[in-house]
Amino acid sequence: MLLPIVVVTIDGAQPDIPGDIQAANLVWGNEIEVWVDVVRSSVVDRPDLLTLTQTDCAAAGHVVSDEEDELFDLGRGQGADVVGYYIAADTGGFRGCAAHPPGRRGFWSGDAATQWTFIHEATHVVGDNPHITNSDNLMFRNGTASITNLPPDMNDVQRTRILNDPALLSIESLILNL
């Protein structure tokens, strides 16, 4: 299975995209044989979105800020349901956030991110997986910098939720459509 994803970098952000995709595939590939496939990557000159102002990063009842509304418009209609955004930071200096406007699935990752932030945030979006207390797990609530026994693990519930997500494509369906 593949997760097609569009990646948008706000010019001035300092991501390590190959490193993030490698880390993503190390976790998801090993755990559930799902591979993250970047179908399009672009750099966008929007300095007004480099430091993002958010109202909150709530999993439920998220209030979408004007800037989030603009950010999450980028990269749509380019062959993926999920878009990952690289920005410098939010105003609090957090590593990422997976709260998104309704109907525009995606997440952002900031310059303070670890190599696991990208796939941690993607795992919130794909399968709608919450934080948990197991420190060996990708979704450990204390942050990816505190995960123990790397690479991070996933549990059965998380695996099932991701595999049931409509954003995934089977490799067979891609071959048949060639």
Binding site: P47, D48, T53, A58, T91, G92, G93
Partner: protein, 157 residues
């Protein structure tokens, strides 16, 4: 002297996202507020990322009594801290906050100046609109001038 910070607050500072800190803000426990305030004013040995998050939290707490604390520490902050501080002052929203924000209209960081625009926009009123007019005319970056003009137009409509 080291500041005693609860495990819960430390976890929220180290978390990937802002959600856990938002939960602490929603609960509004007095001891958390006092710890956040001490972190803002702590000496140079404090973790600057934690100080930034403490400022972020106090901006959303809604107690304008911290404006003086933020004003005092602002000149010592690096860019990420100044961004959090200007954003926090904009959310606290008093005329005193606006006076402090206006002192950063010519900050060397364009990202800080962007937050000045957003803070003035959030505060609103005649004085804030005056600041937006000045930025729309004088800022060296075209994108900031345009942003200030856009926000100003939102007030005039």
């Amino acid at each position: 002297m080291a500041i005693s910070v609860s495990n819960e607050l430390t976890r929220a500072f180290e978390a990937e996202e802002a959600e856990q800190l938002s939960e602490i803000i929603r609960r509004k426990k007095r001891e958390d507020f006092e710890t956040l305030r001490r972190l803002v004013l702590a000496g140079p040995d404090v973790n600057e990322a934690h100080r930034q998050k403490a400022i972020y939290a106090l901006g959303r707490w809604g107690d304008a009594g911290v404006i003086g604390d933020i004003e005092r520490i602002l000149p010592q902050l690096a860019e990420p801290g100044r961004i959090a501080a200007i954003d926090a002052l904009g959310r606290l929203g008093t005329q005193r906050a606006l006076e402090v924000i206006a002192q950063y209209e010519q900050d060397p960081s364009a990202q800080v100046r962007k937050l000045v625009v957003e803070a003035c926009n959030r505060i609103g009123g005649t004085k804030a609109e005056g600041r937006l007019r000045t930025i729309a005319r004088d800022d060296p970056e075209e994108w900031i001038r345009k942003l200030a003009l856009k926000r100003l137009e939102g007030h005039i409509r």
